[in-house]
């Protein structure tokens, strides 16, 4: 069975500081991985995805993520956080088939001045 773990429920960072959100997955084959962002009262929006190739992927809004197969991780990073980045972030794994996607429980990001 596949699973996605986001160990941090809530993270607070200062505006301008760097950010890393953790994501670990469990899956027996090559995973297809995603990061989505959810602003308050909104649906989920794709930040970036990893299917194959370069293990460092760039996304929108200055985010990037690195796929590390040896650590079963797909951590999200941003070098300098803006107040508008305050949101909830979800890591997700797609195993193919009928496009079944397993979501992590989310990490809520708070940005303080």
């Amino acid at each position: 069975a596949q699973s996605v773990t986001q160990p941090d429920i809530h993270i607070t960072v200062s505006e301008g500081a760097s950010l890393e959100l953790r994501c670990n997955y469990s899956y027996g084959a090559t995973p297809y991985l995603f990061w989505y962002v959810q602003s308050p009262g909104q649906g989920l929006q794709l930040l970036l995805k990893y299917f194959s190739g370069d293990t460092l992927v760039q996304g929108i809004k200055g985010f990037e993520a690195e796929f590390k197969r040896s650590q079963s991780s797909f951590n999200l990073r941003k070098p300098s956080v803006h107040w508008s980045d305050a949101a909830e972030y979800f890591c997700a794994l797609n195993s193919g088939g009928y496009q079944k996607v397993t979501f992590g429980t989310g990490t809520k990001l708070q940005v303080i001045p």
């Binding site: 297809y32 009262g41 909104q42 649906g43 989920l44 496009q99 992590g104 429980t105």
Partner: protein, 113 residues
């Protein structure tokens, strides 16, 4: 350029009442999904459809029914609402062929009293 549209946005029901949530997509996507989002639990798949006239159960299907009579619409029904169904419901769609991005609606916030 509407994408995925959910109606209604908010609803309050009394225990035992019924209702239908409508999801409409204008991207000609084959696959459509209904999720529920509860605090600390991420998104859980209720039902999904891989094409017009087909539906299947996800991980939390009890108490819900769905229909996909038209390719662009995916309806989620609650026949006899229970307080445990208080949640935020999201519809998503994706095209076929390999792992693909899911496009989400803005959600329906449902309270069952």
């Amino acid at each position: 350029n509407a994408g995925v549209t959910q109606t209604p946005k908010f609803r309050v029901l009394k225990t035992g009442q019924s209702m239908t949530l409508l999801c409409a997509q204008d991207m000609n996507h084959e696959y459509m999904y209904w999720y529920r989002q509860d605090p600390g639990m991420g998104l859980r798949l209720i039902h999904y459809s891989v094409g017009e006239g087909t539906t299947a159960k996800g991980e939390v299907p009890d108490g819900y029914n769905v229909s996909r009579l038209k390719k662009q619409n995916f309806l989620l029904g609650l026949e006899s609402a229970a307080p445990s169904q208080t949640s935020v419901y999201f519809c998503a769609s994706t095209k076929t062929g390999g792992p693909n991005i899911q496009y989400f609606g803005a959600g329906t916030r449902l309270s069952v009293l």
